[in-house]
């Protein structure tokens, strides 16, 4: 399986580390919403088909990547940098203050 890193180009999957399901939405760390935490920790779509995933090019440029992989064929449909595609809690708080 080859993953085409946006920085390094096509590389063997051995250079990458799976960082989990890309559909999760982490609640605010201060949140007391147990249902939201339960969903974040346990609920998975487990689709037979296209799946949003987070990978890290740990054996290369070390960038975190947003990957869409077909779980039936292992075809990689898209790869993009994680950076800029999400807003961290810290950044949201900074924006709230401004």
């Amino acid at each position: 399986m080859l993953i085409t890193c946006p920085y390094c180009g096509p590389r063997d999957v051995i250079e990458f580390t799976y960082q989990g399901d890309g559909n999760r939405d982490r609640p605010d760390p201060a949140s007391q919403n147990f249902e939201a935490w339960n969903a974040y920790v346990y609920d998975r779509l487990n689709p037979a088909g296209d799946h949003n995933e987070i990978w890290q090019h740990s054996g290369g440029c070390r960038a975190h990547l947003r990957v869409v992989r077909n779980t039936l064929t292992h075809e990689i449909l898209s790869v993009a940098f994680m950076r800029g595609t999400h807003t961290s809690t810290a950044r949201r708080k900074a924006e709230d203050k401004s």
Binding site: P6, Y7, C8, R11, D12, G60, A63, R83
Partner: protein, 195 residues
């Protein structure tokens, strides 16, 4: 400054080795740069860091992922988004960068004692490296000056092409001797010389 010892020394045997009856097709050396720096720019500050690299080294980084260049004394290449490796034969690069790369631009990490730089050259250099790393070493895909970060059996390696048939490989100092031995074994069948 502290006198640096080579981690390769017990396995560093100058001379020709392996199957060299028909000529030596690989030259292996340790370049031993005085300074090896890792520079990282905060998001959006990349251009300022590239300008700082030019100020300190006089080397103008080309655009694009993995772009780099070397003047034979100083070398620089990108190995990750907004991150660069800079090496210099002389010591003192850390102090020079600390003056120009302000905390608002990015970070400066001195890896001079943490990495070992091994040079592989010769007509079979691409061929030997292709046994180690699953990347394209052909000149059009990996131009002179460019850098690549990859791994060999989980040993992280940064590779810069410093000539059409010459590559500088930066590996962790603690893994350098074992990597060097592997490189020697891989070069045996084409004949290699350690200089």
């Amino acid at each position: 400054m502290v006198e640096r010892q080579s981690p390769l020394e017990p396995e560093f045997h100058v001379g020709s080795h392996g199957n060299f009856e028909h000529g030596v097709e690989i030259i292996l050396t340790e370049t031993g740069p005085g300074s090896i720096m890792q520079l990282a720019a905060w998001p959006g500050e990349e251009k300022k860091l590239i300008a700082a690299i030019r100020t300190v080294t006089g080397l103008a980084l080309p655009d694009g992922a993995g772009g780099g260049l070397s003047d034979g004394v100083k070398s620089v290449f990108g190995f990750a988004p907004g991150k660069f490796t800079v090496a210099d034969e002389a010591e003192g690069l850390a102090d020079a960068f600390a003056k120009v790369v302000t905390p608002a631009i990015g970070t400066v990490t001195d890896l001079s004692h943490g990495r070992t730089a091994i040079r592989i050259a010769g007509p079979k250099a691409e061929w030997v490296l292709a046994k180690f790393f699953a990347i394209d070493f052909a000149l059009p895909a990996f131009p002179v000056g460019a850098g690549r970060s990859t791994t060999h059996h989980d040993v992280f390696a940064q590779i810069q092409r410093t000539g059409s048939d010459q590559f500088d490989i930066y590996v962790f100092r603690s893994f350098a001797r074992s990597f060097w031995k592997a490189l020697c074994h891989a070069s045996e069948e084409v004949g290699y010389e350690v200089q």
